[in-house]
């Protein structure tokens, strides 16, 4: 790891001042992706600003029909939260399936979505539920947030403070994990909202994406049978040593069917 100057601000304002106008500075959340990247010298920064001491960025609360999760809330806390289990159990299950228990004690929702790894779990939940990303400057709709491979709409100097999730009528997340890394080879988040059905796919493409054909079919009938004959074109999907684009395309449909089944069962209870 190349060395850097480490900073530990106690407030959001202090953090914002530390990164303002600097392009070689990086925010550190849980560090579960950033520290390995630094170790491999895939990245190099003059300064790291650690958000770990800013208590205002942590915590989970319900505001009417919205669940608000602070950016620095660890996955383990989301997975174990009674508030999340009541509002969006699919999101608690998603958080409980990220990495391993030790990673979940440290990794955060804000760090995960700011990193925008194409195979990370949280982007599927954020896009699938049509969440809103709250930053130090503005609010960004999930549909406008994920732009590509490790690329988001965040501007230099902008800090994610929280994610606001609308509470769905039913939702579920299913992933087929790569057995060694546990990142998703294909992960599908399905949500039945008041305004329609959303289906978000992670692990298969260069970035999390919406499976619009499946959304249209499920809007007519929210049942696994609605996905009969529906396919995802493999053209823009990833091929690597773990799976071909065709395998991923097929896997996405299977995961989507299972997610709809799981969401329907959860709803019936």
């Amino acid at each position: 790891m190349y060395d850097f100057d480490y900073h530990r601000p106690g407030s959001l304002d202090e953090a914002a001042a530390m990164i303002a106008g600097k392009d070689d500075v990086k925010l550190l959340a849980g560090g579960m992706s950033l520290i390995p990247a630094l170790k491999l010298r895939l990245a190099r920064y003059s300064d790291l600003v650690d958000l770990g001491a800013i208590d205002a960025l942590k915590g989970i609360r319900r505001e009417g029909n919205t669940l608000v999760i602070g950016a620095m809330t660890p996955h383990a806390e989301v997975a174990a939260s009674a508030e999340v289990a009541r509002a969006i159990p699919a999101l608690a299950a998603l958080a409980g399936g990220i990495g391993d228990p030790l990673v979940r004690n440290r990794g955060t929702i804000g760090g995960s979505i700011a990193n925008a790894d194409p195979a990370a779990d949280y982007p599927a939940g954020v896009l699938g539920l049509g969440a809103t990303i709250v930053t130090s400057r503005r609010e960004i709709a999930a549909d406008d947030f994920f732009l590509g491979l490790f690329e988001t709409a965040l501007k230099p100097g902008e800090i994610i403070t929280a994610v606001r999730f609308p509470v769905p009528q039913a939702a579920a997340y299913c992933k087929h994990p790569q057995p060694a890394s546990r990142f998703a080879l294909a992960g599908v988040f399905v949500a039945k909202m008041a305004g329609g059905v959303r289906v978000a796919v992670t692990g298969a493409g260069p970035s999390v994406l919406r499976f619009e054909q499946a959304e249209a079919a499920l809007a007519k009938k929210f049942d696994p049978s609605a996905l009969e004959g529906i396919t995802l074109a493999p053209d823009d999907l990833n091929s690597d040593i773990h799976a071909s684009a065709e395998y991923r395309a097929s896997c996405v449909v299977v995961m989507a069917r299972r997610a709809v089944q799981r969401a329907s069962e959860a709803r019936a209870r």
């Binding site: 100057d5 530990r8 579960m32 390995p36 228990p101 030790l102 990673v103």
Partner: protein, 158 residues
């Protein structure tokens, strides 16, 4: 270089560290607490597991400077000098190791598992919750038995 101050195994300590110094380097190289092992250095194997403010973390993937004011427990601090923690005793009793390299991390992870999942652990839960710790010798069989027994023994001692 900056000074980081924290509590390790009940003792207040301070050390001069670089920004890039990892918690595991602080523990092993500055404090000479070499019970915490570095296996993979890529946050996969879990040999470096310690408790940071009461929660299990992989100390190869935490910056030492991030631990300012924190409380850290390593395998050396799990039980009073000369005594074994019930989980350590269970690992000994069930011969849950061969080479022993992964054992400190396994035990720290197992104690964290009890915190999260309680004292009555079935085999499936233990195997699932142990996915952040790799052992290349044992096939996990005795480790799983030891964790179940250790978890139960922690309840009796509590």
């Amino acid at each position: 270089m900056a000074t980081v101050s924290l509590t390790v195994n009940g003792q207040r300590v301070s050390a001069e560290v670089e920004g890039r110094t990892l918690l595991v380097q602080l523990l092993r190289e500055h404090l000479r607490l070499t019970g915490t092992h570095v296996g993979c250095d890529t946050s996969q194997c879990g040999c470096c597991t310690v408790h940071l403010d009461g929660k299990g973390v992989k100390s190869c993937t935490v910056l030492a400077a991030s631990c300012e004011g924190a409380t850290v427990t390593t395998i050396e601090g799990l039980a009073p000098e000369g005594k074994l923690h019930p989980m350590q005793e269970a690992f000994r009793e069930h011969h849950a190791l061969q080479c022993g390299f992964c054992t400190p991390g396994m035990i720290m992870s197992a104690v964290d598992m009890v915190r999260r999942k309680g004292n009555d652990l079935d085999e499936h839960t233990v195997r699932e919750q142990l996915e952040g710790n790799l052992c290349r010798c044992t096939g996990y069989h005795n480790i799983v038995k030891a964790i179940q027994a250790g978890a139960a023994a922690m309840k009796r001692k509590a």
